[in-house]
């Protein structure tokens, strides 16, 4: 549904995007992750026909964004990272305006708009001025606006940024619904866990380059080889750290208030043997467990060295 091929954007001599390649199938929710300034907004603006690439191509539904922007616009709902609303409009007028701008006849809009407001939980604001809405509500209204022309693809640039936790959860619930509706969604964030549970695939961008890409589960599995062990013991952490230096499979050790964390590259057998040696060495162990490598760890792992894949 979305094909990005060798996409490059150069500002002066600065490479904002450097040969980015992304493929997103129909119905996939694609999480686009990277630190601030990585090039997420640039990529999405190009997809939204608002910016021209320096070289490379981007296609939505088979239409090139540069050659056939009009066709692309029909197929996308675009939510910018920062956006304004027309304050003097009521929520319904706001949606009527965008609906009309997509050529939807008034009679159809009259039916559609209450449904959209329902979808984004703004039914009770049907008669309010946009001005009076909270930030989270404006964000949801903007999302409803993206949906007026029933686009196949949604391009959402950090839709959850600047929202309080409650508003984030609401936004996430709506996105889940959109996913069920079969939309292809590309959603960006500079915070990975925010996306973790709702995306199918993930792409990590850094300094304008894709550093990792694939199914969430795949990436997690590939990195699971390296386990993180979490050990709590009775007040012997200093000596324990020194003792660990001689252990073969241990690569990194750090301790905090909750205990000692070890990056361990061995398998189950080696892990069992390590525990046995620790006990015979006289450490009084309270707990010994394998910490779940979550997506955030994956993210840190990937972006730390940039050497993944």
């Amino acid at each position: 549904m979305i094909e990005i091929h060798n996409l490059t954007k150069i500002y002066g001599s600065f490479h904002a995007l450097d040969e980015v390649n992304i493929q997103i199938d129909k119905g996939t929710v694609f999480g686009f992750v990277g630190p601030n300034g990585a090039g997420k907004t640039t990529t999405m603006s190009i997809l939204a026909t608002l910016l021209l690439p320096t070289s490379g191509t981007a296609k939505v539904g088979g239409y090139d964004v540069v050659q056939h922007p009009h066709e692309v616009r029909k197929r996308i709902g675009y939510m910018p990272d920062f956006f304004g609303v027309y304050d003097q409009f009521k929520t319904t007028e706001y949606l009527h305006f965008y609906g009309a701008s997509y050529g939807i006849p008034r009679s159809e809009r009259n039916k559609l708009i209450p449904q959209l407001l329902e979808l984004v939980n703004l039914s009770d604001k049907i008669d309010s001025y946009v001005d009076s809405l909270s930030r989270g509500m404006k964000q949801r209204l903007c999302l409803a606006r993206c949906l007026v022309h029933d686009p196949e693809v949604l391009i959402l640039d950090e839709p959850a940024s600047g929202l309080d936790p409650r508003a984030r959860i609401e936004m996430r619930e709506i996105l889940k619904e959109l996913k069920l509706m079969g939309k292809t969604i590309i959603i960006s964030s500079h915070i990975l866990p925010e996306l973790a549970e709702m995306v199918d695939e993930i792409g990590v961008i850094e300094h304008g380059r894709m550093v990792a890409q694939g199914k969430v589960a795949d990436i997690q599995n590939r990195l699971r080889v390296k386990r993180v062990l979490h050990i709590r013991m009775l007040d012997q952490t200093e000596r324990f750290s020194t003792w660990l230096k001689d252990e073969a499979y241990v690569s990194q050790v750090y301790s905090d208030a909750t205990g000692v964390h070890i990056h361990f590259s061995g398998g189950d057998l080696e892990q069992a043997e390590l525990l046995a040696r620790m006990i015979s060495a006289g450490f009084q162990i309270v707990s010994f467990n394998e910490a779940q490598t979550n997506l955030e760890d994956v993210f840190l792992e990937i972006t730390k060295g940039g050497s993944y894949e």
């Binding site: 070289s55 675009y78 920062f82 956006f83 305006f97 701008s101």
Partner: protein, 304 residues
């Protein structure tokens, strides 16, 4: 589609609604009418304080004078208002961060630009219509025909269109409204004041070199064309058909020689080109433009 759908596209509809909902518009309207009203009263007071005394009635030439001065005042007001109203229409949306979303809709660039122009000029027209009662004072005294008033109105419309298309072009070109407004005022000043001053200066120079000889050489100078670029010059030439002639003629020249072109006609022709050019550029550059690809490029896929 009903007639409303045909005439009013979504962008125009939105512009009308939003513009009339800001208190600023009401304030602008009030301020405009007040300024014009006070100006009119001042002008009438000054011009009649000596003429009225003995006869107790109005000389038509005096009321025509009032009409002219009022018309000029109105022209100056238009010059002040139009850039302020148009130079922010695109950059303003950019600053409010609504432009991106507008540009991803199905509305064409031409629709967006022209709708914004029409809505701004409609508001200007409203201002001018609102000052019609001021003009009606002049009608009480006679000396001015409704036709003149109508022609004047068309002329205003054209001047608004000219300044408006400049304003919209700069609004599209510059990211910041502030800069767009300043540049539009700068160009406006050049058109309203600059051309007039250059004309006076150039005419003075040409006049100094002119030797009145009935035998050879034309009695008019190309310098007159400069005055045709000035809205004031064009306006006078509408009121006084002989003005075009005298703009081109050297003083002491043969009055039988005609003007090569009426000043207002030149004005309309030249600035029509400017209007079309400005609007075309604005429409072209509001969305990112694809530079033309070289046919010879074997890569083919290479853009820009």
């Amino acid at each position: 589609m009903n007639w409303r759908g045909m005439l009013i596209n979504p962008v125009l509809d939105k512009e009308f609604r939003l513009r009339m909902r800001t208190p600023r518009s009401a304030v602008a309207l009030l301020a405009y009418v007040l300024v014009m009203g006070f100006l009119a009263m001042g002008i009438i007071y000054v011009l009649t304080s000596n003429g009225m005394g003995s006869s107790g009635r109005f000389d038509p030439t005096v009321s025509r004078m009032i009409f002219y001065v009022l018309s000029f005042a109105q022209l100056v007001m238009i010059a002040f208002m139009t850039p302020a109203l148009t130079a922010g229409v695109i950059s303003g949306e950019r600053e409010k961060q609504t432009l991106g979303m507008l540009l991803t809709t199905q509305q064409s660039s031409a629709t967006i630009i022209l709708s914004k122009l029409v809505s701004s000029l409609s508001f200007m027209t409203l201002l001018i219509v609102a000052t019609l009662p001021v003009y009606s004072i002049v009608f009480l005294y006679g000396g001015v025909s409704p036709k003149q008033l109508f022609v004047l109105f068309l002329f205003y419309l054209f001047v608004m269109l000219m300044l408006g298309s400049l304003g919209i072009f700069f609004s599209t070109l510059f990211k910041r409204t502030m800069i767009a407004v300043i540049v539009t005022y700068g160009v406006g000043l050049m058109i309203f004041l600059g051309t007039g001053l250059i004309y006076l200066f150039a005419m003075g120079m040409a006049q100094a070199r002119y030797i009145p000889s009935s035998a050879q050489g034309p009695d008019y100078s190309w310098v007159g064309y400069i005055l045709g670029l000035n809205p004031g010059g064009a306006l006078i030439s509408i009121f006084e058909p002989s003005f075009s002639k005298s703009a081109f003629l050297f003083s002491g020249g043969n009055m039988g020689a005609g003007a090569p072109i009426e000043l207002w006609l030149e004005f309309i022709i030249v600035y029509s080109v400017v209007i079309v050019l400005m609007l075309w550029l604005a429409i072209r550059y509001i969305r990112p433009v694809r530079r033309r690809r070289k046919r010879s490029n074997p890569g083919g896929e290479q853009l820009g």
